[in-house]
Point group: C2
Chain length 140, copies 2
């Protein structure tokens, strides 16, 4: 696993309201890769994604405690489907818990989730629609 | 607020055990800025920090639900103490909740926390011991 994370995803209660906070209030510029379902802000080295909490919980296939803070996931973008498989196999052997085995997902990619020793959620995904710069940052 | 986040901090149950997962298992290289109390991994654009959960909860001055996942905080490094004050004043006016007013903190910096509309925890900190590269990334 390269020493890299590509996306921090915040699960939000009301996407348009949350987007307005970052976009209208903080004056951050959304990425053109954003859709009506997910909004990206390229922070120069990592991408912040806002995604509805219920969809995120569904995507992770994990029941979340809806009280308190929202779920956050940390994503690592692999460069092939094989790398996703290899990496999940590797971290499982290292003691991480596989939450969602790698599988084709609705947005056209191939993705799985693991939990680290403290319960933090890591997605490992191959996304055929993105490219990387020379520092392995997503160009979105 | 510049369109930037500098640090993702994971609250961990057992620092040495969690560090071993990233360092020994994933073969990530810790930053020389790490201490016995906090460990940094520079991911090229953002820094991943591992910090004991109880200390993180104490630092945020927020009681966390200890069940389920661990706390995660997202940090923005300001370049002056004044910028910390200005930014917290600004986000408060924008509807964010100030969790910890800006104050001198034990590690020698000046820091406060706010919660966004969904309860995500953002630290705004001035750290006199760090420098930035030309892309506002921390050089640690």
């Amino acid at each position: 696993m390269r020493q890299k994370l590509n996306i921090v995803t915040l699960g939000v209660n009301d996407l348009s309201k949350s987007v307005a906070f970052y976009e209208d209030s903080l004056k951050w510029k959304r990425s053109d890769a954003s859709t009506e379902n997910i909004v990206f802000f390229n922070l120069g080295g990592i991408v912040l994604a806002l995604y509805p909490k219920d969809k995120l919980v569904e995507d992770v296939t994990l029941k979340f405690n809806m009280e308190g803070t929202s779920p956050i996931t940390l994503a690592y973008n692999a460069k092939t489907e094989q790398e996703v498989d290899d990496l999940l196999f590797e971290v499982k052997n290292l003691g991480a818990e596989i939450i969602k085995p790698a599988q084709k997902v609705f947005w056209g990619g191939y993705s799985g989730y693991f939990k680290d020793l403290d319960g933090n959620l890591f997605e490992v995904a191959f996304n055929p629609f993105v490219t990387f710069d020379e520092n392995d940052n997503l160009m979105i």
